[in-house]
Symmetry: D2
Subunit: 475 residues, 4 copies
């Protein structure tokens, strides 16, 4: 309702009541104004009413929602199904233009505004998470792997002769494939075993650089977040090396934004050495559905180039999801989630430790991994393959554990990995991992430990026969 409508309303409802209502409305509009002005997470999270109000404001500014608009182009954001229309809040134009994924669209002022704001909020969230000196970032509706490919494709334009990407091994298919898909040859650096931890082999990297020649190397791609017993790569050392040899440094920060250890590594590596671009998953760090990531960097110009390299428009969905989520959380909410995660990681470690002791196992000592925890599986009944533990947990409604046992080889993108899953050709134990990721609850941990305990009890004595017929018993 505009001023005039409110004035006219006073003929129907006494003006002092209307006035109180207007004041309440203005408070909400003020909240929105502050967001547009400061382009940072609000201190307190917004309620859904304000969010929907804003999304509606935005939607009616897009041409497909203009009353009386007639469209005679080939792309008019007509939406056939009202179910689809509703789930997109009427926003049909996506983000970006054919030239640039961060460009505004004349036909879609609202969508463009939302996209710009979301990119600013993403930048702010990265800072809150600990990477204070980040300079540029944008949300891209592709998951981490494809986004890493896009970064490499952009770097290629400056390093026409480069053929190789140096990559400390991490056994996760999509980051390896991102190199192959981008058309480069991955140079796998085996990790070094240090106690239980698997860490970056700096000597091997240096050796490869010398061997291949810096100009032939597109970039070094390191990883922060990973499954134990691997730990985050030595970003600072790699950063220094990259600086020294003038090689781009691309960081796969998949779910590292949620852990201050990872963000600290990034911040430091950029400060003392070189980090060109780093990519993080939206779903894993911000609790939105799978499908987007943030490409960020310490040089706004380079980040912009990546954006310009995305050919064509793109889905607004990940941006909308992130927008809603970040304004819902607010700074306070987001920080709370981060600190709760840290505490739950401690709690999970303690509980898992107690459970391990009972069953004659032990935790892997991987204190440099801030998210994932490993427990040996060394004392199972002989007839039970360790991986069975994972299946048994899954049928008991525990999702997300990973069991790794030596001996499984795998060919990814034409490259053979020995003991795939363990990040190492030679890791000596079978083990199970669990992770304390953002959004986990204390109840998740408790349920997990109870069910794990039951499964391990079952696996210690000979239960092979009964296994086949067992029914799922949920604790």
């Amino acid at each position: 309702m505009n001023e005039e409508s409110l004035k006219l309303s006073e003929k129907l409802v006494p003006s002092n009541y209307i006035h109180q209502g207007i004041q309440a409305r203005q408070a909400r509009e003020n909240t929105i104004r502050q967001l547009i002005q400061h382009r940072k997470l609000p201190e307190c999270g917004w309620d859904d009413v304000t969010i929907e109000m804003f999304l509606q404001d935005v939607a009616v500014m897009d041409s497909n929602n203009f009353n009386g608009n007639c469209g005679v182009g080939e792309r008019e954001a007509r939406i056939y199904s009202s179910l689809v229309y509703k789930r997109h809040f009427g926003l049909g134009h996506g983000i970006g233009r054919s030239g640039d994924i961060t460009a505004v669209q004349p036909k879609a002022a609202g969508s463009s505004l939302l996209m710009k704001l979301t990119n600013s909020l993403a930048l702010d969230a990265i800072k809150i998470a600990g990477i204070k000196s980040v300079e540029g970032s944008f949300v891209v509706p592709m998951a981490t792997g494809m986004s890493l490919s896009l970064c490499m494709l952009t770097l290629r334009q400056k390093r026409k002769s480069a053929k190789y990407v140096i990559w400390p091994r991490i056994d996760q298919k999509s980051c390896f494939k991102s190199i192959v898909t981008a058309g480069f040859e991955p140079v796998v650096i085996e990790n070094t075993l240090d106690g239980d931890e698997l860490k970056t082999n700096m000597a091997a990297i240096k050796e490869k650089i010398t061997l291949l020649g810096a100009d032939n190397i597109l970039c070094v791609m390191t990883t922060t977040s990973c499954f134990a017993p691997r730990i985050p790569d030595s970003l600072e050392e790699v950063g220094l090396l990259c600086k020294e040899y003038d090689i781009p440094h691309l960081v796969n920060n998949a779910y590292g934004l949620q852990a201050s250890k990872c963000t600290h590594l990034l911040q430091q590596a950029a400060r003392v050495g070189r980090v060109d671009l780093f990519v993080q998953s939206l779903d894993k760090n911000f609790m939105v559905p799978v499908g987007g990531s943030i490409i960020a960097g310490f040089d706004a110009g380079l980040v912009e180039e990546v954006g310009k390299n995305y050919p064509g428009r793109a889905s607004a969905t990940p941006s909308i999801d992130l927008f809603i989520t970040l304004v819902s959380m607010g700074t306070t909410g987001y920080k709370n989630l981060l600190s709760e995660r840290k505490e739950l990681c401690k709690y999970l470690t303690e509980q898992l430790q107690s459970c391990a002791v009972i069953h004659g196992e032990r935790l892997l000592q991987t204190k440099h991994n801030p998210i994932s925890i490993g427990m040996t599986l060394s004392n199972l009944d002989d007839s039970i393959p360790p991986t069975e533990v994972g299946s048994m947990l899954f049928t008991r409604f525990v999702s997300g554990t990973r069991v790794v046992a030596p001996g499984k080889n795998n060919t990814v993108g034409g490259h053979l990995f020995k003991n795939f899953g363990s990040h190492s050709d030679v890791y000596p134990f079978s083990y199970l991992t669990a992770a304390a990721a953002i959004g986990m609850t204390r109840n998740d941990v408790n349920l997990f430990i109870t069910r794990l305990d039951k499964v391990l009890t079952k696996c210690k004595t000979n239960k092979t026969d009964s296994l086949k017929t067992e029914k799922i018993d949920k604790s």
Copy 2:
């Protein structure tokens, strides 16, 4: 977004794009302004976006949606479930105050505004439907029967000694019960058979008035819409009689608003004679869920008194439903629905006529009933009771037919009705009725006729055995 937000947005999106968006938004706000100003159905219906925008505007003006409000009363419109919250668009305060269902609430400026507007729209719709001289009306969240009771309870306050309600028989329970529930004694007037039609027995009414004494009669309650072969009551004649004897005239206009014959009767009766109040169903006339009605009259003061007589607040749901529906329809849409109904009634009559002929039946000649049509069921196989035809149709997904066969007596509210369902102690035929109500489609008619034809075919030859095992075959 307020002015300031829009201004700030121009830092992110070029001002000419923003400007185009603002213009489109203003067009919507203007639509809303016109509604508040004129309080009549818009010419063209609103789209859902504008409706939701308006409902949101309204909701944030209610105290339960004030950010930072603290409630320390016994009734603060807290809503526990977010599903419930959403379905009510955040509106929790209902309508009315303890003293008056049409009063505004200080805590709920938005809900109050919506209620006032809906009552105005209802009045306008009644006029569009043909009752031009209606003076007052309000939506009440009770179905027709209970609303008729409320009218009678209000009339009582002016006619303390009145005990009787004169009521030309119509075999529908709730209107009869509305009299009993209100505490009055119904004086049933048997209808007169005229050809196939059952019509008001004016002589009997007059006789009863003389017999009982005008002062002892609370009102005469007539009916417009009804199942054939009954036809609408002779409202004009009754109205003249009521005027003459100074007896209130209450009209049950249940689903009569959709038929110009019924509204014309009301308009005429009020012009030449007397009509005090008339009640119509929301669901039957406006295609909203069951639960509300409109109480209207030709004396705004009397209508207001009825509103003041409703003790306490009430559900806003029927008002919200009607609001959404009327602004969705617009004058154009509503008029189209009315004229389509009229055409479909003709079409249904023709189709039914053809079908009757094929099966050796005939249509009842009830041209004064503008909605309901009857067809004899005189040639069924002896082993099949006529009511079986209704069941067979229902299991073939035809809903809404009614089969009436002589011989069924029924006691309602302590009163015995012979041949209940036929509006008459003596109606000579078994018959089936079908109605052309607002919102019906040509496809409804076609499906109905096809299925009726199949059922009648089945009922003409001896099929009793096979009936028991038949499966539903949907055409």
Copy 3:
């Protein structure tokens, strides 16, 4: 998906994954099955997914949602607007039939099932709230006042000559009007002042009964929940009296279900004396939007009669809202809300006490009122009328306080009440009340006390000039 669909799905997705999904689905279906079987609140509340799944199951069983159905009746639950359709989950037929609001509808198996279940859940909730021996109850889509009228109209049918309703005064318009609307003459019993408390004058009631004659009295209508300093009526004593004189006893339990003191009174009164029917508000006790109430009693037959007396179908909305809310809460959630309310009432009392002391006021000693608390307003600046305090609080976004100052007379339904609002012709103080109602939060109390403190500070010194221009400052 039916069995066959799931089987076919295994051609697309491995059967063990599908199987896990089926198990999870079955767990939800089992939850639903238990509800239908036991018809009691589930121990743990349902999540929204299960609720929506159930509502959808129910909706597709109503004829208006049958694919291929053709409707040829006058009432086919067609819904014009998709916004309206969605908010009703596709349920359009309402509840009840013309004869009986608790009857099932052939055309609407789903709606009928939902209605029946909701009535059972309501009964269970009443028991959980403390009225263990309740025997019958149903949800009616009318607020408390109109429902009380309906009870009286039902009682009339057994007490044809009764004219009076004996009513211990409580200054709330709708319950008084419920008597007048039902066509009876209220016999107001002034309350007795006992310390700060206003309580039932038993002697006066007895005297009136003798004076008017038991047969001429339709019922005694007592009240449980009320604003301090009035306390709940002496239900037990009244119940005994009603038993002795064979007079129906109707209890207005408006928001009393949330307070064990009130439910205990009802339970006791029914055990030792007589309680025929008691009515409670849905919104005030269950945190749903305004519009419904539960009519309950200790004789299932009588409760059924009330249901049969409602003429016609009715809105399903209050039933749907209550259903969703009760299954969301579960027994655990509902009990928690009840005990939290009790604790918050204590907390509110303490905080208000501290605030009173600071400003030279005192709390009214009304320990028998379990919900509402009064504080004197005896030391305001002379130029400030006590009611100003209420307005000042409202503009500071405190809703729900009530300020009562002697001297305000009011005519309701033709009856003059001296000092209307104070439940008494002679209450000696000005005071402000606040209530600890279900759903209140600790934050509500804190905000209230802070703002009250500011307002009182303002009102103690001469601020009359500044008052006029003050801006709202929200704490």
Copy 4:
């Protein structure tokens, strides 16, 4: 509700009513079963109720929606905001696995099933649109340009030495950039002017192939849908050439699926020559929001390889949108849309022709372009640049026209294009284009012509002064 629940329901609602409800439900479940069985568009479109029922069925099969599930992985599809949860129907896991975008996920049986079905429906839709011999396809949550890049990156793996992409010029940035981003050098083939039409210069292509060497050429990338006066490329001839020289043929079928002329070209080219992969936009062909495309081909194995090349999971949103849309349309609805488009194209041509004549202009004769139509802008007032016409139309709420005037050069991805926008260095006229795209209405055409007529009228006489101050006047 499962069988048991329905059985138990018969204690509350008569079994014959329940039975009718069950039958209606089974009809819906049968519809769903047929879809899973046949994996083709249903003949008749589904209503939203069935769609939501199916989506809910699917959602509860994903682990994030399991009641009692505990997640201890790094990716558990937790969703923070309930607004986000709702808009994704609870589906959080996206589609694909790290290795393959078309792989199923153990944690997400429901999402996996939906993805598989959608890919099958997409294949069916392509066939319906006319490309009968298509063998494989999948939906990818990237717009056309990025999808073309992905195709090229996949082709590279088989043609390691290839450096060039031969590309008949089309002036749309993202398809050109798709080549550059993929790391290849575009070889631009200028179009041939034939009458008003711009068509493929076959001789030039052949010459380039010979010059560069077939092995050095990754592929020829042709285009079907395009703005007039360019016409679809000579796919058949190019296909023959590619076959002859053993060069992959990639087709940008951006919005060509909606025009039988384009699909016929594809079908023919594949039959007589060679087409490896073709890519089409979801939003432009199926009226869903921007963000997805379908990658398809005539060799299922190759299409699968492209899917395996996408590194990582991806957004399910475009798949969900397409699923909903295709089952909503059904075969009937989709075919109707296609034929309506064809008719409207004729209508638009006629109307534009009449308008052109009035203003002394003429239509470009481009009968081989089935979607886009051009009209000269040769007689404007000298002071008005032709592009002004586009702006004027846009401010009059006509979106989608394009005005091309000679003289605008543009550098895209490092390559200079003369007269960018006209697909040709030498096109002789200024002109305006309009397109008849799927979903357009007759009203769109009428509004467009009316407004165009006004604008042209304005531009014929000297209006430069008034232009600056004009207000938008919407017809």
